[in-house]
Every structure is written in C-alpha cells, then in structure tokens.
Subunit: 244 residues, 2 copies
C-alpha cells in the first residue's frame, strides 16, 4: 500500500514563524508535503527554522507556488479549512469526518490536500470554490479563531488518528502483571488472619461486611503482583511491635 | 444539568506567553477554570494577556497554588497529560477516550481536572502518581513534542467535541434548496431538446448513452435550484447566435 499523506497548502501565509510552527505540527502528525502559495516572508529564515522545532526538513522540502491553482494542480481531492461560514453550496465536514473521507480517498489512490488561508483573513471565497469540500473544526463559536499552526495541528491530528491503530485505553503494568484471582484470594485470607490477630474483628457480626468492603477496595481496580507484594510488605511491617 | 467543565492545571509553567496561549486554547474549547501551580512568570503580564488573544478573562480568574496537592484538592478525577512513557501502573487513555471517560464522570457529578507539566520537562512522576489516569495524545512517535498550549488545545478539543452534537457532514445550500427530481428531470429534458436543436445527436445510436452520461454528471452531487437556474442560463446564452 502506498503511504501517501495529504499535502498541506498554506495560502499567502504572513509570518515565517507560523510557517515554521505549521511544519512542526505537520511533523507531529507525520505529514510531509508542505506547499506555500506566495508566502510573505522567507520560509527558510532563521525564525521559521527555529519555530519548526526540529521539523526543518519539511521547510527545506516545501514547494513555493505563485497561485492556488498551481499549488493544487496535481491533486484530486482538496479540502478548504475555514472557521467562517461561507456562502457557498458545498459539503461541510467536521475535522474528524473529513479525516475519514480523506483516508478513504487516499485508499482509492487519490492525491489529497488540505488548504489553509492567511492568518488574519482566512481563505478567499474564490480559493474555497476550487476545493471539493469545506472543513469546519468544531470549536467554541464565541472564540473559534485559531493560530495557523493550531489549525494545521487539529486537522493533521484527526488524519493521523485514522492512520494508526492505538488501543484507546490500556492498563500499563510495565514489568509486572495483573495478579490472578488466586493470588488476590490468598491476600484476602492473609489480611483476614492478620486483622483477626490484631483484634480488629471484636464484633463478630460485623466481620462478613467488613471483609466484603475490603475485597471491594482491592478488587475495584486490577492490582498487579508487585502491588500485592507491596501490600503484604506494609501489613507485615504494621503488625510488628513498634519501638515507642 | 450542571455545566461543569474540567479544570486545567498547569504545573510550574515557565513562560507567560505559553500560559496566555493555553488560556486562548481553553476558550477555544469552552473551558474556563485555569489553575497554576507556582508559575515562573506573571500570568497577568502584558505578554500573557497579549498571547491569550481575547481570552484574558480566563487569566484574570486563574487561581495560583503552591503545590499540585492544593491545586487538585477539591477534584475527584484527574488526568495527567504526558508524552513520555511512565514507569507507573496506571490506566493510559488516548485523548479522545479520556474525553469520553471524563464526560461520563462529569455526568455523574464528579469534578474533573487535566494536568499538564512544565514546558521542558513535563510532569514529574510524583505528580503523575497523584492522578487517576494518564492521557497520551496519539502523535508521530518520532516527533511528539508539543507546545504546552497545543497539548491543552488537543485535549480540550476532544472534550469539546463530546459536549456538542454537530452533524459531522452537512451539505450547505444557504438560501436555496436541493432541486427535486422533477426539476432535475425538467432540466434533463430541456438539455436534450437544446442539444438536439444544435445538432449534437447526429449519430442516433449514441444518443441514449450520451444522455445517460449527462444525467450521471448532474445527478452525482445534489444540485440546488439556484444551480439549476445557473445551468439553464448558461445553456440559453450558449445557444444564442454569437456576434463574430
């Protein structure tokens, strides 16, 4: 399978710093093809390189074009990212839905692009009309303005999530492993004996309920073997006669 | 229903600019409760206010604490955001799964928090151990370092998405509406008559196939009534005898 990722097209970006930060965001999301339409500042300036925080390779390989048309000429499926409502008859996707659609398009062999406008004004309507669809990133409508690199990051992140297959929750136990029920039962028995020895069960009828409560404390979240050992250790220590 | 959103706890943030940008990201995601644990710089400095891009209200209402323990004292469910692997026995969630879990917790009336470490070093292991779970934002493992405000933005964005109910795809038609099949059929008939008049169907056996192709062009994506009118208009114009 070809490993093609969408091109990032920055139309008339104003600040070299933002282009650099956009490169960093692209690298965060494993994107590599940056296309710049007549940037105002030099995208290889020291400011840009520094802002890219190690993603300067993307800046060095970036292609510069004179027009939006040239920048997207070889692409087949292009999305315009915009925060404002556009008076255009067009499909509007959330960022995650656009990532799903784009992933399907790429699997069909299409070359995709994501277009972002200048920092202050965003994309012009004529640029939007060249695109197949619009991406609206769902954000607080009272405060939805994003830095250019943050817009690149959010859309790129949604695309990246589609490419990977991460467990969305994972109980990390490192070198130890989750204790078996037998080991847990052994610990409950040990605890009961020790509590009995120290006189904790003076009222006999409360005993079953307290044991149930204790089991609930320790069974609620998986204990590892190492954690069981820690618990044995502290109980053994606690029951020793202390020097006063 | 109470409209509580998670608190954002920034542990020892170094730069006022980053605190300001984090406030902006919080406002993007409709979050309001910022908690700072001994920030190095003044979070109400001109730099911070300027970086917040209109989210200064969040900075003004931010609470400052001396320790992580005090900052999370009233919370019940706290997530540590970290890029590095931690040698701790802990549940690790992706950002979107954590957002789902946190949303459930909030619906149960729990007060939640999201903890972020200092820019260079991230959270200390002792801070992480105070938290219920870890959030790992899925990003390119070769380049996963994020600016503090970008980490806040990505996690906040995932939480925000859970709070809203947006159509993930929407065909925007503005003041017009999608043409009915009857209007579309009328247009096909009109097109056929005009093409016939101008001699387009000189080879009769090709006619059905060409009409099918034309219907496929215009039926593939929903045409609006306004767009149909535009098409009638250009065809009427094209068929007029031109002045040479």
């Amino acid at each position: 399978m070809n490993n093609i990722t969408p091109s990032i097209i920055l139309v008339h970006p104003q600040l070299a710093e933002n282009v650099g930060m956009a490169a960093r965001a692209m690298m965060n999301c494993n994107l590599s093809d940056m296309r710049l339409v007549s940037p105002r500042e030099d995208h290889l300036s020291a400011t840009a390189i520094s802002a890219s925080s190690g993603a300067e390779e993307i800046l060095h390989q970036a292609k510069v074009f004179d027009s939006v048309q040239e920048a997207i000429a070889d692409l087949q499926d292009v999305y315009a990212t915009t925060a404002r409502h556009r008076n255009q008859t067009k499909m509007v996707y959330t960022a995650d839905k656009a990532a799903t659609e784009m992933t399907k398009a790429i699997k069909q062999g299409l070359k995709c692009g994501l277009m972002f406008g200048p920092e202050r004004t965003g994309l012009e309507n004529d640029d939007v009309s060249l695109c197949d669809a619009i991406i609206n990133i769902p954000l607080n409508p009272k405060h939805c303005s994003l830095n250019l690199s943050q817009a690149v990051l959010l859309v790129g992140y949604e695309f990246y999530k589609q490419q990977i297959n991460t467990l969305d929750e994972q109980f990390v136990t490192n070198d130890t492993t989750i204790a078996s029920k037998e080991k847990l039962q052994h610990f409950y028995d040990f605890l009961e004996v020790e509590l009995n020895n120290c006189g904790n069960f003076s009222i006999d009828e409360k005993r079953p309920r307290m044991l149930r409560n204790l089991r609930n404390i320790f069974s609620r979240r998986s204990l590892t073997e190492q954690e069981l050992n820690t618990l044995y250790g502290i109980i053994n220590y606690l029951k020793q006669p202390h020097q006063k």
